[in-house]
Amino acid sequence: MVMELEYDRSLYGKEHEAGPFEVTKEIIQAFSQSIGETGAVFNDESAAQTAGYRSVVAPPTLCTLYVRRVELPDINLKFGRTRFHAGQRVQAKASICAGDFLTASSHLKEVYPKTGRSGTMVFIVWETTFRNQDGEVVADVQESYAARE
């Protein structure tokens, strides 16, 4: 039997935007430091340029820092009492370097139920596309939240 979910379906097709966010050398270095990333191209400008990059390179998931800067509406899901961050996907399309300006555009990708041994959960998936100052897509990020009874 197909579970009928009640939520705001009018949100499909709507884009929610934020930015531009300047990716500075200091942000990249602080991000690298907080995760113990010591790779030369992530920390040292001359090493990055020797490797062929414009400047210090952002670790590939740095753009996830900006996902929550996009104000997303409540989908008014009529299911579950608790919600948690269930998963995340990053598809890197191009390098992000210090000095880049990123804009974020998010939309509701899908809402679907899944039933397992612990019962039914409903997954809400938002997709965010990041573009740089040249309009080039640099990353797609999907965040999944699960609602549980």
Partner: protein, 146 residues
Amino acid sequence: MTQQNMPYFEDVELGDEIGPLQKVAADGEVVEFCQLWGNPMPNRFTEAAIAAKANLPGPILPGVMSMALMAQLLTQWGGAGALKDLDLVFRQPVPHNQPLSIAATVTDTRQENGENLVECDILMTGLAGERYVGGTALLSLPTKEK
């Protein structure tokens, strides 16, 4: 964009193990990460009392921080620009100040649209074998062919 000791596509075989990368996320590092992230503090990632109210055994790592740690294994192995896709499921809360082991296993190699692709399963585990975060990754590696 090359780095020293980067593997070539031809050197990688199905079943190859990548890592493990051993990490510990200290309290201060999580606070620093949350400050960058812009998440209002204190929160369940930084304060034991707030974590307890959310029925957590202690402050935990944000999912995006776990992801950043796991990506590090892959960039250390394949180079800064190798990672194309990282798709993770957060299975259990990840604690601060505990040994974390991150490892991957190659599950497929293929050449597609001029790219040399390596697919992996990737897992973050705890000292007692807790499976905290799992998922898949796709990397693009250079070839020895001219």
